[in-house]
């Protein structure tokens, strides 16, 4: 298993500046709606649950569990030459299920429900990709 391409793709526009600036500082930010208290994913200006435009950023715990995963043997684009790698959805403690990669876990260690924690992979472009690895203990 690989950890993906050596040179990681940086998020393309439209970017959400605060989110990606925080990743470079090792922080995973989420948005919360100030009117209905929903945690919003992916970050945007409108709350898709109640239409409010009043939202705030907050720091996620960085912990979650694997909701689903696949070992992809046929990468494309930036991932063309780094297969196999793991694509996954992680369900964060705060609720959202986010698309990500799992690093540092081989075959049998991967499982739906596995506790994971966030790690940040530098893109070299002022941002880092939030990925996840098996949580210790």
């Amino acid at each position: 298993m690989t950890d993906g391409p050596e040179s990681l793709p940086a998020p393309a526009p439209p970017v959400t500046k605060e989110f990606w600036a925080a990743t470079a500082q090792g922080q995973l930010l989420l948005k919360r709606c100030l009117d209905c208290d929903s945690v919003i994913w992916y970050p945007r200006v409108i709350c898709p649950h109640c239409s409010s435009l009043r939202t705030e950023w907050f720091a996620a715990s960085g912990r979650g569990r694997i909701y689903s995963y696949t070992v992809n043997h046929r990468g494309e684009g930036a991932y063309q030459d780094c297969a196999p790698f793991v694509l996954a959805y992680v369900e964060l403690e705060e609720g959202p299920r986010i698309m990500t990669n799992i690093t540092g876990a081989e075959g049998d260690a991967l499982a739906v429900g596995l506790p994971v924690e966030v790690v940040f992979s530098d893109t070299g472009a002022g941002s880092a990709l939030p990925r996840f690895r098996p949580a210790p203990g």
């Binding site: 689903s68 046929r74 959202p96």
Partner: protein, 387 residues
């Protein structure tokens, strides 16, 4: 008001070629348009409504209408929901006809991904979610693999059960001389094929083909004057399924599109004699079967493993042309061919070994987008002229 019986599919045409290196995309649109109109006994001069999706090159429906010389149009629709677009087009055409907006609607699909390679839609890079998904390397297969894995986790579905979908499609494809893959395969062969994105093997995936197809939807008074049997549009339902930040990979938009279509048609899943079900991947079919109401949620694996999908005598004969898994998947958009094979079944014109005896009511279902993120579902219920 409903569309039940307010419109008929009078023409259906599937391009016979699967690799077309020497033609342009507009040319193939023109070939399928003429094919479907000839099938209906109509001409381009009769067309007063034109429908196309994202595969049509140019400015919405206008460039292709200009290319084809459709100078009598009074209704256009370029609804783009990926592979399900063409099922939606039939429903929209029926609604427009029922409202008196038009009488003869032409729907076309064409493209050359096998000859020209994949075209990455530039618009998807501008989608608001792109920055939060694309950097992690998702591919089409891997998104459906995520759905398959979660379905396995929640319901105990197995790779062998998924393989049964491909096995049934291959049994049907052997009777279709135009199919890309005509050799029947076994469950063991599916499981032994290379892993693409686990748990999906190469033989869990559809083919990539050039080609296209077209449909002609007409008002009942037009249908009555035509020489060939037509197919009645009985019901239509469609629904996008959003990710909502809490994506649930175990079900599809068919949970909403199917009840709407069945209600409008006034029939139930048990009344369906034949089903065309979009088969981008084996898991696509399995989830759709559950969500369309053909079996209990989570029991799709057992349903397909007992041979239910085999024509002509299975409980739910499906994709008798071999489907996207074996026959044809023009432009990576399977909705068009799903409608075409349903029309063949209702006209009694499917290949003889897979023709469902006395086929009265058929369902055609498609989804577009990705089951791994956000998608759209569209369901049609079609019946024979006397239905």
């Amino acid at each position: 008001m409903t569309i039940r019986g307010k419109a008929h599919i009078a023409g259906a045409y599937e391009h016979p070629e699967r690799k077309i290196p020497d033609k342009s995309v507009p040319q193939v649109h023109a070939e399928v348009a003429l094919g479907a109109l000839a099938d209906a006994g109509l001409s381009l001069r009769d067309v007063d409504a034109y429908f196309c999706a994202g595969d049509a090159p140019g400015f919405g429906p206008v460039s292709m209408a200009d290319y084809l010389g459709l100078d009598r149009l009074r209704y256009v629709d370029s609804t783009e929901t990926g592979g399900s677009s063409y099922l939606s087009h039939v429903g929209h055409a029926a609604a427009a006809i029922a409202a008196g907006k038009c009488r003869v609607a032409l729907i076309t699909l064409a493209g050359l991904p096998r000859s020209q390679g994949p075209s990455r839609a530039s618009r998807s890079a501008l989608a608001p979610e792109a920055g939060f998904e694309q950097p992690f390397g998702p591919t089409t297969v891997s998104m459906y693999a995520l759905a398959a894995r979660r379905h396995m986790y929640e319901y105990g579905t197995t790779s062998a059960q998924l393989a049964a979908v491909k096995v049934a499609a291959s049994q049907h494809a052997q009777h279709n001389p135009e199919a890309m893959l005509r050799t029947p395969v076994t469950v063991a062969e599916v499981l032994a094929s290379p892993m693409i994105s686990d748990p999906l093997h190469r033989l869990d995936c559809c083919v990539i083909s050039d080609g296209g197809g077209a449909l002609v939807v007409v008002a009942p008074e037009v249908a009555r004057e035509l020489p060939r049997p037509t197919v009645k549009v009985l019901g239509h339902g469609e629904s996008p399924k959003l990710a909502g930040g809490r994506v649930d990979l175990t079900y599809t938009g068919a949970v909403w599109s199917a009840p709407r279509a069945f209600d409008e048609a006034g029939v139930r899943p048990g009344d369906i004699d034949y089903a065309s079900i979009y088969d981008s991947f084996t898991i696509t079919v399995l989830q759709a079967i559950e969500d369309l109401g053909f079996c209990e949620k989570g029991k799709g694996g057992a349903f397909v493993a007992e041979g239910s999908l085999l024509a002509p005598h299975g409980r739910l004969p499906f994709n008798t042309d071999g489907g996207g898994l074996c026959n044809n998947h023009p432009v990576n958009r399977g909705g068009m061919t799903k409608v075409i094979e349903a029309v063949r079944q209702l006209r009694g014109e499917a290949r003889a070994p897979v023709q469902v005896p006395d086929c009265q009511i058929a369902l055609a279902h498609g989804n577009g987008g990705s089951l791994g993120t956000r998608s759209a579902a569209a369901t049609l219920i079609l019946g024979r002229e006397d239905a």
